[in-house]
């Protein structure tokens, strides 16, 4: 087992820095991918000039622009919470990268309960958004923060319940163990249970990362920019990057527990397969995002409590019955 | 031309005098006329209201329409220039509310018992009624504080 627990400090720092830099570079280029995919879906070209011919230097230009902007703090904003908001929004998302195994036996943190730890840390970003919404002293931000709390707390439950299905099938809460248990068959191919659990997880993931049709939190046409309406410059960049990092981390989790993580034909190394699966899932998220209109808050909550939650609960019970009684899974 | 029998009925009811687009009634009879049109003759659709500044008096027109017979009728009242007050039609036709607010804003006609007698287009602190014929329009900005009232003051923070 090669993780931070069994390395000297230098190794820990190098490993974390390596994973973090790969993660953040991916996040930066995911913004480029999003703009290109959105543009092609809308019959236009997307970023083109910055780094011809495909605008591949656009993320760099965006970062430089955001760093160079003036950092404005409203006079009546709550100082501590206002500055804490972006940090709380970004750090838990980045923490998610630490748990995802990228080679057999290699992860930054390999813990027997890493599935639960991942979920626990990922849901901390809720506090960042709520702090930003409250501390901005702005009614639009407050409304968005209230919607955010209601939505995210609701959609955590089917997310977790859907996550428990692969854990049951693998017989382990450790992400490494779940990946290893997929050596024969990736869990998404398990008849009925695997596919349904993946669909539930995908929808809950869309809601957790505020992508359409669940982007009512930052509904730009109603709440302007919602919780980050008062932020500019580097703080806005942190929110922006944090949103992509959160989505990418959740895609990583989905790739790990449903699609087998770093497993793949041997002619390419494991981390490559992991990245391929993560980016593929992210592309599907983009495809859905740029096609759908936005749900209203009561419709989104009704969808969760009346459909998604009972569905995920029944899938979990069915999986438990299959594993326990029929000896399915491992 | 509005329907002849409706004009005749109104002439019998309130002494309405026909003109090109409809009937002339006296200001106190306005609401009676409008209610008769709405309830008795089926003119339930509200078109719009307009005012005209004839230098000696104001004219106020309310236009209503009967969708079944596809007929318009305009009810006109003449108001004296120094006391341009008339009853509000907003309780009879919901659509008259904003039309009357706009006429108050731009002409200065007072509508009694209007549910929301504020200016509509211009700022609340504005002094003057621009569509009156004595409102100057030949200045660069069309608004001379010396003749039309105090300049708009900055609202208290």
């Amino acid at each position: 087992m090669n993780d931070a627990g069994s390395m000297p400090l230098v190794g820990v720092i190098l490993l974390s820095a390596g994973v973090l830099s790969v993660g953040m570079t991916c996040v930066a280029y995911l913004t480029w991918l999003e703009r290109k995919v959105a543009a092609r879906m809308q019959n236009r070209v997307g970023p083109y000039q910055v780094g011809k011919p495909h605008g591949w230097l656009q993320p760099l230009a965006d970062i430089v622009k955001l760093l160079a902007k003036e950092d404005i703090t409203p006079r009546a904003a709550d100082g501590v919470l206002f500055n804490l908001g972006p940090i709380l929004a970004v750090v838990p998302a980045l923490l998610g990268f630490a748990f995802i195994p990228f080679l057999p036996g290699w992860a930054v943190v390999d813990h027997p309960y890493s599935v639960l730890l991942f979920s626990a840390f990922a849901s901390l970003s809720l506090f960042g958004v709520f702090a930003a919404g409250w501390a901005s002293n702005n009614k639009y931000a407050l409304l968005s923060a209230l919607r955010m709390v209601a939505m995210l707390v609701s959609y955590e439950i089917p997310l977790l319940l859907a996550l428990l299905v692969p854990a049951l099938l693998a017989g382990s809460f450790s992400l490494m163990g779940i990946v290893e248990a997929q050596r024969g068959l990736a869990f998404v191919f398990v008849p009925v249970i695997g596919q349904l659990a993946f669909v539930v997880f995908f929808i809950a993931m869309l809601a957790e990362s505020n992508k359409a049709p669940f982007d009512l939190i930052e509904a730009e046409s109603e709440l302007i920019a919602a919780y980050n309406v008062e932020y500019s410059g580097i703080k806005f960049a942190l929110f922006y990057a944090g949103e992509y990092a959160h989505t990418f981390a959740l895609c990583g989790l989905a790739a790990t527990v449903f699609f087998g993580g770093y497993l793949g034909p041997a002619f390419l190394p494991g981390p490559f397969w992991l990245l391929l699966k993560m980016v593929g899932l992210f592309s599907v998220v983009l495809w859905v995002r740029w096609s759908f209109m936005r749900l209203r808050i009561d419709q989104a909550l009704a969808f969760n409590w009346k459909l998604l939650f009972p569905l995920s609960l029944s899938i979990l019970v069915a999986t438990g019955a299959w594993v326990g009684l029929a000896g399915g899974g491992r | 031309m509005p329907a002849a029998e409706v004009v005749a009925a109104l002439a019998a009811r309130v002494g309405a005098v026909p003109f090109t687009l409809g009937v002339d009634v006296s200001a106190p009879d306005l609401l009676v006329t409008l209610r008769a049109l709405r309830d008795v003759h089926g003119y339930r659709y509200y078109v719009c209201a307009s005012a005209t500044d004839r230098s000696a008096e104001f004219e106020l027109l309310h236009g209503v329409r009967n969708l079944d017979t596809n007929d318009d009728i305009w009810v006109r009242v003449h108001l004296p220039r120094d006391a341009p007050e008339v009853d509000s039609a907003a309780h009879t036709y919901a659509g008259a509310e904003w039309q009357e607010r706009e006429i108050f804003d731009l002409f200065g006609l007072i509508f009694r018992a209007h549910p929301d007698p504020r200016r509509l287009m211009l700022p609340d602190q504005y002094v003057g009624h621009p569509l009156r014929k004595d409102f100057p329009i030949d200045t660069p900005w069309g608004y001379r504080p010396a003749t039309v009232g105090a300049p708009v003051a900055e609202p208290e923070a």
Binding site: K211, P213, E222, M293 | C48, W74, A94, M121
Partner: protein, 382 residues
Amino acid sequence: MTSDVEIVERDFGELALNMGPQHPSTHGVLRLVLYLRGETVLRAVPGIGYLHRGVEKLCETLAYDQLAPVFERNDYLGPTSNSLAFVLTVERHGSFHVPRRGAWLRGLVAELQRVASHLVWLGTLGLDLGGALGGGTTLYMYCFREREKILDLLEELTGTRFHTNFNLIGGARYDLTSAIGAHARGLADGFDAMLDELLSMSAKSGVFRGRTEGVGVISRDLALGAGVTGPVLRGSGVAFDIRRARPYDAYAELEFDIPVRTAGDALARFEVRMAEIGQSARLIRQIVDGLPPGPICSRKPLKNPKATKLAAGEAYAAVESPRGELGVLLVADGTSQPWRLKINAPSFANLQVVPLIAPGMLLADVIATLGSLDPVMGDVDR
């Protein structure tokens, strides 16, 4: 927090949210003060006048022949209808004859701009419902791509893309060549496929229907009393269209249907407008195929615009603009300038309904309702 800011906490149980003049989805500069409890609107207070340019006063200073372009700037998304309303009123009052070809050409440009205006409405409705970072932008881009084709045709015909200055008192300004006619016909033939594509992005999407079905219901009685017009009126079950009720220009001789829905909600108004695009395509095909020969304007180009005097009297004429009944009430005094020109704007009447139906809606529904009413602030404020 700095010491010169005093935070006063008061609890009235309601939150006053100012969707101020600058807002991504108020369709122009409309200020809507919403009093909310949670997400529910308790009351809505619209504030207009941010685009008030004093057009009616301006009209009293210009000659009749100079006024048609001024009218185009009122409702800037359906400009030809505005100038057509004015020109029609003057023609009726002054008994000017309009040659048949001119009347048919005016109808052609009016229908083309009706489709263009409805495409803008649909695109911005997508932005309102789906947001700039989601499926709404996709719908918006597709609508505007189709609209560009219409604007290219108008540029071929008149020289400018949108405010074409096409209507004259007594006819039209530019004539249709057979090449432009063929181009227009091809465009109209493509509208059906375009409608299918746009419908697949909107009405066939469950999320869209969920956002518009049952939202912003205007009952038939309220619609009549408040005087709403156009697709809003026809979406509430009243089959009244000025083109059918008081035909002007070519409409008496052309075949088209009036789409009517009874539900009165945002989805009904959406369906009415989409059906109207189909009917406009039908009208354009008929006009291009059956365009009568002859002159397009009964009056020679003027040397002195102040030469046209109209007799004293009043006249009212209305046209069916993309937003509804656009009427002009003319009070003439015998000179070459109108004494009073009142513009009965469709968006003005339609917007009045918002404070009457807003109480009890959710915040997202207010946006959807505003989008389905399709107000243009240039029309409301004049």
